[in-house]
C-alpha cells in the first residue's frame, strides 16, 4: 500500500499509515448485509481509501438515508460520528452538518432508491450548491431493503426476478449531477477494486461536491439474468472512459505527463489526479461534453465508468457563505451572543 509508512521501530507491528494508524482503526461493525452484496465491497474500499489517505477518523462525519446501502456507515470507520437519517433526505442533514462544522470531511452513503426516487429533490439541490462532501450512491437499480422493487436508476427493459419488466427510462444521476453543479462526478463498479479505490482517494482530496455513482449489485434481488445491474452484466459491459492515477499530496509524482493522452488535475490539497484517456476526445473538464458523452452512451446501452467531470476552481457552498474558519458549532458565546450594548441600541431604534 503506497501510502502506508512503516512503523518506526523494527518490531513487526501492524502496518500503519502516515498518521500512525493501522487499518483496523478504519473498520466498522460486522456487516449485516447479504454475503456478496456490492455494498460490502464499497465499504471495504472506503476503509482502504481513508486508511491510505491517512484521514483522521474523528475528522469524518458519516451520513446516510435509509436502505441496505444506507446501513453501510455502520460497517466502516467506527471512530467517526455517524448519522443514519430518514429515507431520501440525507442531503439536507449533511448540509446542516457541514454548515455546523465545515472543517470536517462529510461522507454520505445513499442508495439509488434513496437518491433517485424519494431523494431526488434534495439530491438536485445539493448538487446545485456544490456542498463540500462526498456523496456515494450504492446503485443496484432496486430497493434492496424493501425486497426488490425497481428504483428510478433501473434501466429500461431490465427484468425483475418476478418477470416484471421496467418500462421507464433510467435516471442518470451522473449526467444530472454534472449539469446541476457538482464538481467531481464519476461512476464506478463495486467489483472494480482499483478504479473505485483511486476514485475514492481522489474524492478525499477534492473540495466541493463529489458525486460517485457506484454500481453495486444486489445479490438477492437483482443479480440474475435480465438485470443490467448484475455482476455479470457489469463485468461484460463496464467501459472505463479513463484510467485514474491518483497521487496524494504527501507522495512524489514520478510519472511522466503527456498532454495528448492524459488530463492532469491538481487537487485542492495538492494531490494530483491523472486521467488517462481511454476514449478519444473525452475531456473531463468539459461539462457540456461530459453530459453529451453520458447521454450518448446511455442511448447506446453502454455503461461508462471513470471520472466524468472535475472542476477544482468553483467555489463551494461554504465558500459562498463566507464562513469564519472555526466551526460554527463550536464558536464561543463571546462571538455568537451580541452584547448588552447592542441590544440597547436596537431597543433605542425601536422607540
Amino acid at each position: 500500500m503506497a501510502t502506508a509508512t512503516a512503523t518506526p521501530t523494527g518490531t513487526p507491528g501492524p502496518k500503519v499509515n502516515r498518521i500512525g494508524l493501522p487499518v483496523l482503526e478504519y473498520r466498522g461493525g460486522k456487516t449485516t448485509l447479504c454475503a456478496g452484496c456490492g455494498h460490502n465491497a464499497i465499504s471495504e474500499r472506503i476503509i482502504d481509501a481513508l486508511f491510505e489517505m491517512g484521514v483522521q477518523p474523528e475528522r469524518v462525519m458519516k451520513l446516510s438515508g435509509i436502505g441496505c446501502s444506507s446501513k453501510s456507515p455502520a460497517y466502516f470507520l467506527s471512530r467517526a460520528h455517524s448519522f443514519n437519517s430518514v429515507h431520501g433526505r440525507m442531503p439536507s442533514v449533511a448540509t446542516g452538518a457541514v454548515l455546523a462544522n465545515h472543517t470536517m470531511m462529510a461522507l454520505g452513503v445513499s442508495g439509488d432508491g434513496d437518491t433517485a426516487s424519494i431523494g431526488m429533490g434534495q439530491f438536485v439541490h445539493m448538487m446545485r450548491r456544490n456542498l463540500p462532501m462526498i456523496y456515494i450512491i450504492e446503485d443496484n437499480g432496486v430497493y434492496g431493503l424493501t425486497k426488490g422493487q425497481f428504483s428510478a436508476t433501473a434501466d429500461i427493459g431490465s427484468k425483475l426476478k418476478t418477470g416484471v419488466i421496467n418500462d421507464l427510462p433510467a435516471i442518470d444521476t451522473c449526467a444530472m449531477a454534472i449539469q446541476l453543479g457538482a464538481t467531481f462526478v464519476g461512476r464506478s463498479f463495486s467489483g472494480d477494486k482499483k478504479q473505485l479505490l483511486s476514485m475514492l482517494k481522489a474524492a478525499v482530496a477534492h473540495k466541493g461536491t463529489v458525486m460517485l455513482d457506484v454500481i453495486s449489485p444486489c445479490v438477492t434481488f437483482n443479480d440474475h439474468e435480465g438485470s443490467t445491474k448484475s455482476y455479470k452484466f457489469m463485468q461484460e459491459h463496464d467501459e472505463p472512459i479513463n484510467e485514474l492515477g491518483f497521487v496524494p499530496s504527501f507522495e512524489e509524482i514520478d510519472i511522466e505527463y503527456d498532454a495528448g493522452t492524459t488530463t492532469d488535475v491538481t487537487m485542492h490539497d495538492g494531490s494530483s489526479l491523472r486521467l488517462r484517456k481511454l476514449r478519444e476526445d473525452f475531456n473531463p473538464t468539459d461539462r457540456v461534453g461530459s453530459v453529451r458523452t453520458l447521454m450518448e452512451a446511455h442511448e447506446n446501452g453502454e455503461i461508462l465508468t471513470g471520472v466524468f467531470y472535475i472542476d477544482t476552481a468553483k467555489p463551494t457552498f461554504t465558500d459562498l457563505l463566507n464562513l469564519v474558519d472555526r466551526p460554527l458549532g463550536t464558536q464561543p458565546e463571546s462571538v455568537t451572543k451580541p452584547s448588552a450594548a447592542v441590544l440597547q441600541k436596537v431597543m433605542a431604534g425601536l422607540q
Binding site: 482503526e25 477518523p57 474523528e58 475528522r59 462525519m61 451520513l63 456507515p73 455502520a74 467506527s78 471512530r79 467517526a80 460520528h81 455517524s82 448519522f83 443514519n84 437519517s85 430518514v86 433526505r89 442531503p91 439536507s92 442533514v93 449533511a94 448540509t95 446542516g96 452538518a97 457541514v98 454548515l99 455546523a100 462544522n101 472543517t103 470536517m104 429533490g121 434534495q122 438536485v124 439541490h125 461554504t318 457563505l321 463566507n322 464562513l323 469564519v324 474558519d325 466551526p327 460554527l328 458549532g329 463550536t330 464558536q331 458565546e333 462571538v335 455568537t336 451572543k337 451580541p338 448588552a340 447592542v342 441590544l343 440597547q344 436596537v346 431597543m347 425601536l350 422607540q351
Partner: protein, 616 residues
C-alpha cells in the same frame, strides 16, 4: 364587510349625528381601507407612531389579502388610554381609500362613527348617521406632488394629515414619526411631510369637526418600543447565538427569518468580514428541518421558521429529532388552516398536531409566547431548552403576534450564559473512559452527547432513527426499546420543570378561572376587566406559556370550580391538550371559548361568551 365578524351587520339607526361636544379621548379605533400594493403601509405606520408619540397606547393590525397588489386591505389602529391592544370589533373612524369596498365599508360602521373618503365616492348617500368628511384627495395630492408616478403613494400621506388634524394630533408628533420612517431620505421626508401638511390644512379649512374623537397627550408610551413579533423572535434567536438558519419562505413566517438575517448581518460579522452564521434558503420545508437537525447534531444552534403547511411537511423529520434526540428550534407562525387555508389570517390551530407531530408515540416541547417581549425571550430561551433537552423545540406564535406592530417595554438582555446542555469534550472522555449516548446517567432522562469532531477515539456514536439501545447500538430487542421509550417520557417530565411557567393574575380566590395562551392574552385581559366593570365578577386568569404543562397548571385547575379555555381555533386544541394532561376529575371543569374566523380574537367576543356561560 370583510373585516367585521359574522353577526355584525351595520346597525343603521336613525338617530342623528353625535353631539360633537361629547368628547371621546384616546379611546377609539381607526380603520383605513386601501388597496394592497398601493403603498399605504408607511402612511398607516406613520399614523400609528404619531399617536404613539402623543404618549397614547396604540396598536395596529394589518388585514391584508393573500395577494401582491390590487386587492382590498384594511389597517386598523386602536388608541386606548387604558392600554388595551387587542382587536376591537367596533370601528369608530373609517378612512375609505378603496372605491371597490367603500360602500360595504361604510355600511359596516356603527351609528355615530366617522367616515373620511374621497369626495367622488359620495359615501354620505349611504349613511345619515355617520359623520362624513369628504376630501378631494387627488387634487390635494397633485398640488404637493408634481411627479405623477409618485402620487399614488403620496396620496396616502394626505389622509394622515386629515386624520391628524381632525384628531388634534400634534404636527410635531407626525413629523417625528415621518422622520423615523424616512430616516436619511430627506427628499422623501419633505415630500411626504408636505402631503401630510396639505391634508391637515385642507381639513382645517374645509372640514368642521362634527365628531367626538380626539387624541390628547398622555405619558403612557415613554420608553416603550414598537416592534412586530417576528422581528422580536428573530432578535431573540440572534442573541441566543443562532449559527445555522435554514428556511423556506411562507407567510406569515417569512419576516421572522428576514428580520433574523438583517440582525445577523449587522451583529454577527467579524472584523475580517466573515460570517459567524450560515443562512440557507432551502428547497422546501423537508430540507429546511433536515438542515436544522444536521446542524443541531453537529453542534450548531440551528433554527427554521415556517407556518402550517411547512409544519406538516416537517412531520417525519420531527419524529427523527425526537427519537434520535437532536436539538433544533422550529418557529411556527400560525395562520388559518386547514391546508393552504387563509394564509394572511391568524389562528392557533396548529397546537395539537404539533404536540404529536410525527407517527408512533412522538411528543414535542412547545413554547407559547404571548407578547412581542416573549417572542424575544422565548426566541432566546428555545435554544437553551433545545440543547438542554436534546429534542426539537417548537415556538408557536401566530400571524397577529408575528406580523403586526405592538407596543412593548424594551427587551431585557439575557445575562445568563448560554446553556449548551450535556456535551462531553475529549477531556471528559479521557476522564470517563467512554460514554453511553442514550443512558440516563442523571435520572432526568437526558443523556450525554458528543459533537462530531471531538478529538477522542471514543467520542463517536451512531445516530439513527431506528431502534437503538443506551449505547446507540442498533437493536430490535423489546427491553432495549422499552428502556429508551420510558426514558423519553422521563425527559418529557423534566421538560415540564424547565419550560416557562404560566403567568397567573387574579387573587386566586375566584371560583372561575380562565386559561388562554399566545396572542389571545390581550383580548382576555380586556374582557376580564370588562367583566369586572360590567358585572362585578372577578375571575383568575392563567396564561400558559409552554407544553408540556407545568405542575402549576394542574394546581390552577384544581383550585377553581369552572375553567374557561379561550383559544383561536375550532377544535379546542389547548383544551384538548389540557384534558389529556389533567386528571379526569379535573378535566371535567374545562369549558371552551373558541374564536376561529381568521381575525384576531377580541374582548367583546370573549366577554359575551363568558357572560352567557356564567349566566350573568
Amino acid at each position: 364587510m370583510a373585516t367585521g365578524d359574522l353577526a355584525l351587520g351595520h346597525e343603521q339607526s336613525k338617530s342623528a349625528v353625535v353631539d360633537a361636544q361629547q368628547r371621546v379621548v384616546n379611546d377609539f379605533s381607526i380603520q383605513v381601507a386601501t388597496v394592497n400594493g398601493s403603498g399605504s403601509q408607511s402612511a398607516n405606520s406613520v399614523l400609528l407612531k404619531s399617536i404613539f408619540n402623543m404618549g397614547v397606547p396604540v396598536s395596529g393590525k394589518n388585514l391584508f389579502p393573500s395577494n401582491i397588489a390590487g386587492l382590498p386591505t384594511w389597517y386598523t389602529i386602536r388608541a386606548s388610554k387604558d392600554g388595551y391592544v387587542a382587536r376591537r370589533k367596533k370601528i369608530d373612524i373609517l378612512v375609505a381609500m378603496n372605491a371597490e369596498t367603500a360602500r360595504e365599508d361604510i355600511l359596516g360602521l356603527h351609528s355615530g362613527s366617522v367616515a373620511i373618503y374621497d369626495e367622488t365616492l359620495n359615501l354620505s348617500q349611504y349613511r345619515q348617521d355617520v359623520v362624513c368628511y369628504p376630501v378631494p384627495f387627488d387634487k390635494i395630492t397633485a398640488a404637493v406632488c408634481p411627479e405623477a408616478r409618485l402620487r399614488k403613494l403620496v396620496k396616502n400621506m394626505v389622509y394622515v394629515g386629515v386624520v391628524a388634524h381632525l384628531l388634534q394630533i400634534d404636527m410635531s408628533s407626525v413629523e417625528a414619526a415621518l422622520a423615523k420612517q424616512f430616516a436619511k431620505k430627506q427628499k422623501a421626508l419633505d415630500l411626504n411631510f408636505g402631503a401630510v401638511r396639505a391634508g391637515a390644512e385642507y381639513a382645517a379649512e374645509h372640514l368642521s369637526k362634527q365628531d367626538p374623537f380626539l387624541i390628547e397627550r398622555m405619558n403612557s408610551t415613554a420608553g416603550k418600543i414598537i416592534i412586530d413579533g417576528n422581528s422580536a423572535a428573530g432578535l431573540g434567536a440572534v442573541f441566543a447565538g443562532v449559527t445555522v438558519v435554514a428556511w423556506y419562505p411562507i407567510t406569515p413566517s417569512t419576516s421572522l427569518v428576514e428580520a433574523t438575517i438583517e440582525y445577523l448581518k449587522k451583529f454577527r460579522v467579524t472584523e475580517e468580514g466573515k460570517a459567524t452564521f450560515a443562512v440557507v434558503q432551502a428547497e422546501d420545508e423537508l430540507a429546511a428541518i433536515g438542515m436544522v437537525l444536521g446542524a443541531g447534531w453537529a453542534g450548531a444552534r440551528s433554527m427554521t421558521a415556517t407556518s402550517g403547511p411547512g409544519i406538516s411537511l416537517m412531520a417525519e423529520f420531527s419524529g427523527l429529532g425526537y427519537f434520535a434526540e437532536i436539538p433544533g428550534v422550529i418557529f411556527d407562525v400560525q395562520r388559518t388552516g386547514p391546508s393552504t387555508g387563509m394564509p394572511t389570517r391568524t389562528s392557533q390551530a396548529d397546537l395539537l398536531s404539533t404536540a404529536f407531530l410525527s407517527h408512533g408515540d412522538t411528543k414535542h416541547v412547545i413554547l407559547l409566547p404571548g407578547s412581542v417581549k416573549e417572542c424575544f425571550e422565548f426566541g432566546y430561551a428555545a435554544f437553551d431548552l433545545t440543547e438542554r433537552l436534546q429534542t426539537p423545540v417548537f415556538v408557536l406564535s401566530d400571524l397577529d403576534l408575528g406580523m403586526n406592530n405592538w407596543m412593548s417595554d424594551p427587551f431585557t438582555y439575557p445575562e445568563t450564559p448560554l446553556d449548551r446542555g450535556k456535551v462531553l469534550t475529549a477531556e471528559d472522555l479521557n476522564r470517563l473512559g467512554g460514554f453511553a449516548r442514550y443512558a440516563d446517567v442523571d435520572g432526568d432522562g437526558i443523556g450525554y452527547r458528543t459533537l462530531p469532531g471531538t478529538d477522542h477515539p471514543k467520542a463517536a456514536y451512531f445516530t439513527r432513527g431506528s431502534g437503538h439501545n443506551s449505547k446507540a447500538g442498533y437493536t430490535e430487542k423489546p427491553e432495549d426499546y422499552l428502556e429508551i421509550m420510558d426514558r423519553l417520557i422521563r425527559k418529557f417530565d423534566t421538560a415540564r420543570t424547565l419550560v416557562p411557567a404560566p403567568v397567573v393574575t387574579g387573587n386566586g380566590k375566584a371560583s372561575v378561572g380562565v386559561i388562554a395562551y399566545g396572542s389571545s392574552d390581550f383580548a382576555v385581559v380586556e374582557a376580564l376587566d370588562e367583566l369586572k366593570k360590567q358585572h362585578a365578577v372577578e375571575v383568575d386568569y392563567m396564561r400558559v406559556r409552554a407544553y408540556p404543562f407545568t405542575q402549576s397548571v394542574h394546581e390552577f385547575v384544581a383550585s377553581h370550580e369552572r375553567i374557561y379555555v379561550v383559544e383561536q381555533d375550532r377544535d379546542a386544541q389547548l383544551a384538548s391538550l389540557l384534558k389529556l394532561d389533567l386528571a379526569a376529575d379535573q378535566a371535567v371543569k374545562l369549558h371552551s371559548i373558541l374564536h376561529f374566523n381568521g381575525l384576531p380574537i377580541d374582548a367583546e367576543s370573549i366577554l359575551t361568551e363568558l357572560v352567557v356561560k356564567e349566566g350573568l
